[in-house]
Amino acid sequence: MTMGATDASGVTAGTGGTGVATGTGACEGSGGGGSVGGRAPGPVLSVAGLKVTFVRRDRELPVVKGVSLEIAPGEAYGLVGESGCGKTTLALALMRYLPANGRVDAGSVRIDGEDVFSLPEERLRELRGTKLAMVYQDPASALNPSMKVGEQIAEVYRFHEGLSRAAALAAARDSLERVAMPDPDATLERYPFQLSGGQQQRVVIAMALAGDPRLLVLDEPTTGLDATVEAEVLDLIEELRGKVDAAILLISHNLGLVARLCERVGVMYAGRIVEQGPARELFTDPRHPYTMGLLRCLPRFGVRKDEVSLVPIPGSVPPLGSTMPGCVYASRCRLVRPVCTRREPDLFAVPGDLAAKGRAAAEGEPPAPTAQSPHDAEPVGDAARHTRCYVPDEVPAMRVEEEHVHKVQARAARADDVLAAAGVSKAFRDGGRRLVAVDDVTIDVVAGETFGLVGESGSGKTTLANVIAGLYAADGGEVRFLGQRLPPRAAERDRDVLRAIQMVFQNPDSTLNPSWSVRRILSRSAARLAGCRGAARRERVEELARKVHFEPRYLENKPAELSGGQKQRIAIARAFAGSPTLVVCDEPASALDVSVQATILNLLADLQAEQNVSYIFISHDLAVVRYLSDRIGVMYLGWLMEIGDAEDVFRPPHCPYTEALVSAIPTLDFDHRRPRIPLRGAIPSLSDPPTGCRFHTRCHRFLGDLCRREAPPWREAGEGHRYRCHISPNELRELQLAELGPLPGR
């Protein structure tokens, strides 16, 4: 028994402070920290009660509000949470890299026992070079563009280990070999721009590992990279785990990624760690409503919109630096009690039997009420789980509650084509070179369906979307809309066509004119697209706002005053101003946090069910595309590689490129992990596309000369399902099924 008397609701009667350092001392001392200390020479990183405040425009904003965590040697610890929760600030504070307007108010950071905050500047620099290394989000900006890769890596060895030029270059070569860079000798002589994104990130990681760091901090190491490149970097990190003894702190908003790489996970919300524990347990049986909330926002791979609806977390992350007396999550929590808003819960240990009950509950049995307070349990060593919640045993039941399904109108066996693009090509001129971004692509979209368009960046999916919407004129082929040939440019289309084909863009920050009020934005669209005047227009604006769940009282606001999700809602409302027939959605939710993404995806699905609108939905997130789409087209280097019903495209036989894309999806499903198919090399340049099959340079099912010489034929793999490959459907099915092993029942 480590704590005093507590009542059944979990309110502690005698504990003093609310800060992590004091209030949860009992839990952490005997739990995580203690046991780690007992087993190993001590944690590599130990953060205690860290508080960081920013000063912005004369306001004090506490961003990290007391965080404690420890990472043992060789351990990978994942930090997840929505943006604005203080993850990156925490990482910067670890290395004393805070910007000038940030300061550490309290707490300590020890790296290998050394107190980072009391080190002299000199020693700190040494520490940053030897014991600590950080990898940031954008590899291109971390490398010096005017310096050869070899020299950049060698510089690290020369500076930190005092090696001679030749010795440093040799060490650089070895380091490239360590990060499995293909052809390290040639790479030494290259400039960063000559490498692919994945290779650049390899170089950055090689540099980070050059000093044999004790702690490697990876801050969103794959965000902004294509799924296939992400998979490549992930594989590398996973592989390095076996070779390098460094502790890893991985910061990411991508739960699937963290689940794959990390043993332990901390969930951060509004500057606090709200739940912490072993990755598998935490993701399969979360005990904090926020963790559960995050999980319910994600479309589980293989789930469709007519089966399960996403459940967004209500509300949004509190504005940076806001303070509240109770639990940081209380304002959005479904399980909130009066006590939650009065006093912040400590980081309680989750007892083992409770976790077991939770699992039972998740499998269908109702949870038995526990008389036992969370406090009474003994923390269970290294695998101890902690949650900052008064009612952790009620969390598992949230999984099953209120999952409503989007009422999708049953698609007619063969509905009429809304849009038919035949043989569309579009080339751009770049200097003297001709880049064929879309090459002879034929797709059709029927009424009320979602047509998903996937592919790596540079595959031409956005160009195709823009051609259809009328932003670019195609060079070849034709686009028919409801049987009529479409004028290529929006300016030449009459109002009825403009009204019927609209677009939702990717970037919430530039999709709305920053100097217009929301009302003016919607009003203009209502006038132009629906032809509304006067009172009818005012009414239409409010109707649109209601439709996208936007509170009318914010109509006078400028976009800068709205959250990313609100901006995207307005962008959707704008597209729906004239009751469109087809809306092109170009990554409409990828710039948003998961919970906001879920509300946007739900909104799109609901609007579709209501108005029978068709979507062309572009996304790099295959789980999202699969969730929303009825049919899918896969593009690579301007070619359409595969087209068919969503289900068919995602299972064998499918084009080897699709196969690789699907295998790259990071998943939270711990039991059914697919073997990943690495794509070799970089995406070839559009100015000099490969001969024969465009994909042959990277294909894992490369047949040899045939693929190099001849463009592959279209293969019919089923009703409306076609793909391009030299391998026949039957053969391909055998090959691909053999690789997958027994298929999970989904």
């Binding site: 425009r57 004369d58 967004p312 977390i313 209500p314 509300g315 949004s316 509190p318 504005p319 806001s322 509240m324 007396p325 109770g326 209380a330 304002s331 959005r332 808003t341 919407a469 009328g470 932003l471 929006a490 300016a491 289309r493 109002r495 403009l498 084909i501 609209q502 677009m503 863009f505 990717q506 970037n507 530039s510 999709t511 709305l512 004119n513 920053p514 100097s515 217009w516 203009r524 669209s525 132009r528 697209l529 769940h549 936007f550 509170e551 914010y554 606001n557 400028k558 800068a560 005053e561 959250s563 999700g565 609100q566 962008a571 704008r574 906001v596 509300t599």
Partner: protein, 294 residues
């Protein structure tokens, strides 16, 4: 629904208006910047003098006193008198008027023309851009002062001509600034959304893009103002601007420069006045640029 309402337990004000906060912040930061305040004070001083100098000085700027020519600074004439016995203080203060008639108007015209050219070239790109920008390049290649002299000697030195000359010569740099701002703005998605509504090019330029290019245009204007003061003084100095007996600084400096050996005060004070006005305009420009570009 979600997001729309402020989170429970937070004062509503924290979510209210990032925009209003920013505006308040910009104003406060400007008022706290010594650079901007000093510049503003100088500008206001000269504007006041341009309007009211005849009410605050003891002598008229044109009042001749043949018995007191080229007298040094004294209690009667703080800045001394010139070769016609006119009070240098009165003439220096009154000299603000001609320059402040020319410079702001010329700047405004240059802003109008430059914004129109920059918007058109930047929005339409292609051949329109090529033609307009090559024309601008040609104008930029002509030395300002020489071109000014040629035009003024051809058309005569009236106020309108001088204003027009300076406006034309300042149009190219303004168009370049505006064009580069437009180039960045036109790629943004709200412009594409406007095209998908079938908006005309004129509407997109004027209503969608222009409002978002205002900060660089304001900064450009304040920078050009300083240069315009300078250019108008130069033209006057060379005899191609205002004509005697105008108290214009450039003109006065050139007229009195023959006396500089015996009566330095006749030249130094108008020169200092000119310098302060140029520096004042530049300080304001600096303050604006720093605050607006944040």
């Amino acid at each position: 629904m979600e997001q729309a309402s402020p989170p429970v337990g937070l004062p509503a004000e924290t979510v209210v208006s990032e925009q209003a906060l920013r505006r308040r912040y910009v104003v406060r930061k400007l008022l706290r910047s010594p650079t901007f305040l000093v510049g503003l004070a100088i500008l206001l001083f000269w504007i006041f003098m341009a309007l009211f100098s005849t009410y605050v000085t003891r002598y008229g700027p044109f009042a001749i006193d043949p018995y007191n020519t080229l007298t040094g600074p004294s209690a009667q004439h703080w800045f001394g008198t010139d070769d016609s016995g006119r009070d240098v203080l009165s003439r220096t203060l009154a000299g603000a008027r001609p320059v402040l008639e020319v410079a702001p108007l010329a700047t405004l015209l240059a802003l109008l023309a430059g914004t129109t050219i920059g918007l058109t070239a930047g929005y339409y790109r292609g051949i329109v851009d090529e033609v307009l920008m090559r024309a601008v390049d040609v104008l930029l290649a002509i030395p300002v002062v020489i071109a000014g002299i040629v035009i003024v000697s051809g058309l005569g030195a009236s106020l309108a001509v001088i204003i027009l000359v300076i406006a034309i010569l300042f149009t190219p740099p303004v168009s370049r600034t505006v064009r580069s701002a437009v180039l960045a703005e036109r790629e943004r998605e709200y412009v594409q959304a406007a095209r998908l509504r079938g908006e005309s090019g004129l509407f997109i330029m004027a209503a969608e893009i222009l409002p978002n290019c205002l900060p660089p245009i304001i900064v450009e204007g304040s920078v050009r103002l300083g240069y315009a003061v300078f250019t108008s003084a130069t033209l006057s100095f060379l005899g191609f601007g205002l004509q005697p007996p105008s108290p214009d600084w450039g003109l006065t400096i050139s007229q009195q420069s023959q006396n500089i050996q015996v009566a330095w005060w006749t030249v130094i004070f108008p020169a200092v006045a000119l310098a302060t006005l140029v520096v004042g305009a530049n300080l304001v420009a600096d303050g604006l640029r720093r605050t607006l570009s944040e």
